[in-house]
């Protein structure tokens, strides 16, 4: 089971919501060798979706070149304090994790 994400979603002075997410993931490229010289199989997040009130506010596709323990930041309009934000990722092995946070 993957570890929880850390999600921060803050209403800015201009009325937009700034979302910052840290995810716990190894993001293996499939090109790295372990200490025994064997290739470590690729294992990385391929898609991230963020929804607010059932509306997708961001969807991303990632490759293995996104850094380990990935960080994502973006802004959207229409969010209010206390609204729920849901972040979900899915990786190339079909593992997935969903976390939510309230806009602060």
């Amino acid at each position: 089971m993957a570890d929880p994400m850390k999600i921060r979603a803050n209403l800015q002075a201009d009325g937009k919501v700034l979302v910052k997410v840290l995810m716990s993931h190894t993001m293996e490229t499939g090109q790295r060798k372990d200490s025994g010289g064997k290739l470590v199989p690729a294992h990385y997040i391929q898609s991230v979706t963020v929804t607010h009130n059932d509306k997708t506010v961001l969807s991303a596709q990632w490759g293995p070149a996104v850094s380990k323990n990935p960080f994502l930041g973006f802004r959207f309009s229409g969010g209010k304090k206390g609204d729920k934000l849901i972040v979900k990722w899915v990786d190339n092995k079909g593992e997935t994790r969903t976390d939510e946070a309230a806009i602060g």
Binding site: Q46, S47, L58, F71, K88, D91
Partner: protein, 156 residues
């Protein structure tokens, strides 16, 4: 394309459905959620190949795309990048690293109401250009920025 992806994700989000698909042998692990993942684009070696996979024509260089990244990265494992597009009707933002084995690192769909703005951190194997590729009003545009990757440490 966006609509389609959302549908796929919705269908895939039910774990029991997924388990069923696995056990019935319908799906190999990795195939389930990756159905909409643009494999060809992420395997492209350069901008041309990525463009081909996106199905777009040659992009035009644009000053309305801003890449914020350090001039020098102390370590190529984590290079922070922010891309902001000032182009009207920006639909998507992609980040490519010219000299990585596969150029495309990340692609963001920007629905209405979301700023054409994305922050992400990527790996760079060596000093290289970053390319921000933006789709706006059905056309593609790009901007570049060089990031130098340095060596460090005392154990090599």
């Amino acid at each position: 394309m966006n609509e389609q992806r959302r549908l796929v994700l919705k269908a895939g989000s039910s774990l029991s459905l997924l388990a069923l698909a696995y056990s019935s042998g319908l799906l190999r692990p990795g195939a389930a959620f990756a159905a909409d993942w643009n494999k060809a684009a992420f395997e492209g070696k350069n901008l041309d190949e990525v463009m081909k996979a996106f199905g777009g024509s040659a992009p035009a260089e644009s000053k309305a795309i801003e890449i914020t990244a350090p001039d020098i990265a102390e370590n190529g494992a984590v290079v922070p990048v922010t891309i902001e597009s000032k182009l009207d009707k920006t639909e998507s933002i992609a980040l490519l690293v010219e000299k990585n084995p596969s150029a495309l690192s990340a692609q963001f769909d920007i629905p209405a109401g979301t700023d054409p703005y994305a922050m992400v951190r990527v790996k760079m194997g060596q000093t290289s250009n970053l390319i921000a590729l933006v789709k706006a009003g059905g056309k593609y545009f790009f901007a570049t920025k060089e990031v130098k990757v340095t060596l460090g440490g005392c154990g090599g």
